[in-house]
């Protein structure tokens, strides 16, 4: 038995919104792989829960008319990895979420829950930052869209307002078109572990594959919330693809990131693996984009 005071179940987004208004103190639960574990630890003892797990309308990936890729917030990690649209347009996201926990966790864990936790180590978050994802929230007065960088406010705190739930994650066409990316999770174990550092890089090359048109890089656990390394991104724009560029790009990430000492790893070690991961992920992305080194 979980130590909960009451459970309210929503079968639709509308029901979820009205339950949120009726019970503002209640905690939203999607797949529950964080919320229920926290309840076991006693952190949310006696809480009221609003379960949105049964809202099937929030599952699945589709392409909208304007070319925006929509990921329903309740889509599980394993379904994201197996999805053909994800594989075609943002394969790196499928690879990143395939490194969350273990197989059973990837069957229950949702991308909406992963982002709503506001945790810097979330395996989906750095890739979503690096692809300028947009978060869709639905409340009483309809939907609003927030760039993911604004959605994260501080550690553990995201911009979900009264009566709202997160209903979708959107990848704009501008982000995925002709763009290839790679994610590196650095952790102590290969399974059932939390990232010591997560690095997601993507690049778009010129038509002749010789020049970097755009490179983007985002990190998890390099600061209290996921973050982009803008200085590094700028060093590559319009530059010829080379090993030396990868090195310059990687060194520049140190300008933007601010990792901390924790029991998992020291700040210095995180800085070291950030540089190395950025370089490797950049080179891999260039290769995926068809660039020659």
């Amino acid at each position: 038995m979980y130590d909960m005071k009451a459970l309210y179940e929503a079968g639709s987004v509308e029901e979820a919104v009205s339950l949120r208004m009726e019970h503002p103190e209640a905690q939203i639960i999607a797949g529950g792989s964080d919320v229920l574990v926290q309840m076991r630890e006693g952190k949310r003892a006696g809480a009221e829960l609003i379960s949105i797990y049964d809202i099937d309308a929030l599952r699945g990936v589709c392409m909208e008319e304007d070319g925006t890729l929509r990921i329903g917030s309740l889509t599980s990690f394993s379904h994201i990895t197996r999805d053909t649209l994800i594989q075609r347009y943002i394969n790196v996201l499928g690879q990143a979420v395939d490194q969350v926990g273990g197989p059973q966790i990837r069957n229950i864990g949702t991308i909406g829950g992963n982002t709503c936790n506001g945790v810097t180590s979330a395996d989906s978050a750095s890739t979503l930052f690096a692809w300028d994802a947009v978060i869709e929230l639905t409340g009483q007065s309809g939907t609003r869209r927030v760039p993911i960088q604004e959605f994260y406010i501080r550690a553990g705190k995201v911009d979900i307002r009264e009566g709202e739930i997160q209903t979708g994650i959107l990848i704009p066409r501008e982000s995925y078109e002709n763009t290839y990316g790679h994610y590196i999770k650095y952790a102590m174990r290969n399974a059932m572990d939390i990232a010591t550092l997560g690095t997601s890089v993507n690049v778009r090359l010129s038509a002749d594959k010789k020049t970097v048109e755009r490179a983007r890089v985002a990190f998890g656990v390099a600061g209290p919330i996921p973050l982009r390394a803008v200085t590094a991104e700028q060093t590559t724009a319009g530059q010829l693809v080379s090993e030396e560029l990868a090195e310059r790009f990687a060194q520049a990430v140190k300008e933007d990131i601010n990792p901390r000492d924790s029991w998992r790893a020291s700040r210095d070690f995180r800085l070291h693996i950030a540089v190395e991961s950025a370089k490797r992920a950049f080179l891999e992305s260039v290769e995926l984009a068809g660039g020659a080194l």
Binding site: M1, Y2, D3, M4, K5, A6, L7, E9, I29, G32, S33, L36, V37, R40, E41, S51, Y53, D54, S78, G101, G102, P103, Q104, I105, N107, I108, N190, A191, M192
Partner: protein
Amino acid sequence: MEKHVMQYKTVHFTLNGKEVERAVDVRASLTDMLRNDFRMTSVKKGCEVGECGACNVLIDGEAFNSCIYLAVWAEGKTIRTLEGLLGPNGELSDIQQAFVDEAAIQCGFCSPGFMLTAVEILESGKEYTDDELRKLLSGHLCRCTGYENILRAVKKTMYRRLGKPLPEEN
């Protein structure tokens, strides 16, 4: 102190091929319900935080840790536990027999969970490499066998079901 109001919900689902219905306390995990209301004692209570895989069951064909799954979410689902793998007269299924043959069981606590993940792997009808199998089995902890015999049992059954000979080990 505030009085706690008991909250129940009736859930209907298919358990090992049989349609069932139960009124459950909404605070129950699926492990609680399967063990206490249905006596499915193959579903083990291990870590109870989704790390060890001992409580694993198949829900609509996918593996889930039932300890971090609300019992009320079972509504309308098709759930299989290890008990459902047995034949009509209690015969072992191929994957269970393979675990026995390969000495993939010692204390047995992790075995039901492992075998159900193995069923999900086998039912995909795909041929996996050893590395892929290791990853697919990585959501289970076993403190007895060192995993090699478990991997071998799953691999052997996979090849048998695919109708292919087991490749020679290097």
